[in-house]
């Protein structure tokens, strides 16, 4: 039964971590534009290279 003493807190903490991650991602706007996010992955240029200008 001592296993319970650390298994249950572990399970709860993992769950809480998941919840925290979800709430953080929601807050940081990752669910705002589900369609656009998919497209952004396909963009070659990232922020830095855009500032530096196109490079081929």
């Amino acid at each position: 039964m001592t296993a319970l003493a650390w298994l249950i807190p572990c399970a709860l903490l993992l769950g809480l971590a998941g919840l925290a991650a979800f709430l953080w991602s929601l807050h940081s706007g990752q669910f705002d534009d589900l369609e656009g996010a998919g497209w952004r992955i396909l963009e070659d240029e990232d922020e830095e290279s855009r500032e530096r200008g196109p490079h081929r």
Binding site: L26, D32, D33
Partner: protein
Amino acid sequence: MDGAMTEMSAAGDGGLRLATTTLAVGNMHCGGCMRKVETALSAIPGVVSARAHLSAKRVSATYRLGEVPATQLIEALERAGFVAAELTPANLKKPNAPDQDLLRRLGVAGFAAANIMLLSVSVWSSRGGDMSPSIQSLFHWLSALIALPAIAYAGVPFFRSAAAALALRRVNMDVPISLGVTLATLMSVYQSVRGTEQVYFDAAITLLFFLLLGRFLDQRMRVKAAGAAANLLGLTAASATVLRHDGVLERISASAVVPGMRILTAAGERFAVDGKLLQGTGDVDQSLITGESTPRRVVPGAFLYAGTINLSGPMFVEAATSNEGTLLAEIARLMATAEQARGRYVRLADRAARLYAPMVHALGLLTFCGWLIAGAGWEGALTAAIAVLIITCPCALALAVPAVQVAATSRLFARGILVKAADALERFAEIDSVVFDKTGTLTLGRPSLLNAHRIEPTTLAAAASLAAGSRHPYARALVRAAQDLDLPIRPVIGVAEIAGFGLERQTPLGRERLGAPDWCGIQDGKATSTLCYRAADGTLTGFTLADQMRSDAAEATRALKAAGLALEILSGDGASAVAQVGEALQVEACSAQLMPTQKIARLQELSGAGRKVLMVGDGLNDAPALATAHASLSPASAADISQTAADAVFQGDALFPVVETLAVARAAHRMALQNFAIALGYNLLFVPLAMAGHVTPLLAAIAMSCSSLAVTANALRLRTCKVTLT
């Protein structure tokens, strides 16, 4: 949200004040567009950042205050090939704000449900006796620790709605839900204190989770549709170019126009307010107001309505009204009045709740009194009564309608039909008559070339090349026809658009013309064609253009008739055009040349006779009628205001979505009733047992989940099963 259009902040960039503006971008469709929009805005000096939002078709730009006017942002986007408009405070809503809240609650409920289930499963599975009472009690208290804050937080939407209904002395489905969840929780706490096995935290939180999920999906659909409608409104919220007294042209917002101002309207623009034409001759597309698809020829002195489109050269108009006094604004007011009348519709689930809630509460009371009289003591009596309330806790009943609705809406969404109103499906299911507008609804609302196959491909290609630069609907029809036949359209230069007549170009071989038949040289009597092309060598070709019926209009109306629906056409167009369509579709009841108010009168007459009318229309003149009818549908090509008024919007060139919508709505209605039957059957079986005090916790838990699962599974059938209109 404060509703402000521009947010200010003092942060960032060394204390410089920054402002953020949100623009609707009409034609942003892919990742490429998204980047072009962002680059176009970021390139403006003074703009700090720009972030495009593809699903909402909006972009937020942050810039240093005072350095960049909003018009400059819009111009930059226009140069990049996008249609953009600043969103007014009225139609600016953070696209996902309403469902973010639900999503957060859903996340909390999901976390709690998963963890409590983990604990509950171990308690239930060890019922043989290999778990000591102290461990069991520990598990119950752990569940309580998770459940109490989670339920208090996740249940807020239901508690709030129930409280609002009770304050109005009404009952809705959220009242039994709230009561059931609260009682289940309170009793579980009580039983945890007593150390018994009847602990139901899992049931309470799982119920909340499923209900929130249903509500979230339901709302997301509608938020998406409403956001799209707001963008459309923003994009057409007109500005006007005003000729000031000092002779300078100035662009102002349409709401700032006062009577007497002289307004310049360029070709392709909509008139901002009603007014008198001072200068310029040409064609005006009035289909939005009248439903008449043939452009109207106007000369100075003519009265023009706001919302109609100038098809020819620049026109000067003297404003006769302010922005609020236009026919368009009048129509918007008619619409608002009509919508208020419809707000009294009571949804199916709430009608059920009105019957169900008092019955359940009476049964609970009866059980309590019965056991008290039988001498069970107040504690035993209360336990039995709470058991009844938990058994009747409307898990399945509360899921019955939302589950069906989500399945039905997503099925329709996949087929390009956006259902906007929450109760629309239920109203669609009750329809027994369908009233159609003609132009743009039964027909495509734009002219098409009818005799394309009798014209030499080279001639058509030459004419289409000449027409390529014009915005006139006839010119566009020629270009479309040429494209359909895969003819090459070459850019030509030196085309002059002669307002009111057509297009002309000087070539080395002579003059090329495309336009009105008599202008091209066809004499009276022979002018059966709508449009004529005169090649440089003088050969004449006639084009016949007409507004074509949607390809499946006959099939769709036949299906509606076969299902026993009464059909009627109400049009603002001329009598002969309407009769022709009526004959082709075999619809006997046709009325022509109707004003918006006459359409409303006819709809009220029908509803007075006890008919439940579905209005299908697209024009501005249909908007009030759409709001008056019991339910309404609009094609996506419709005027923005009509799309706002309609319960659902369908995309594409086919009319069959009308049939599909009604078929799915009726199937959804049948399924909702089936689900009620399942839920009630379960209650009929278990309530007497619970009243007699014979329901063991395990049995109750299994039966409870089974009924919810049965209801959900039944609803999910709707996503895939074949649905026909009967």
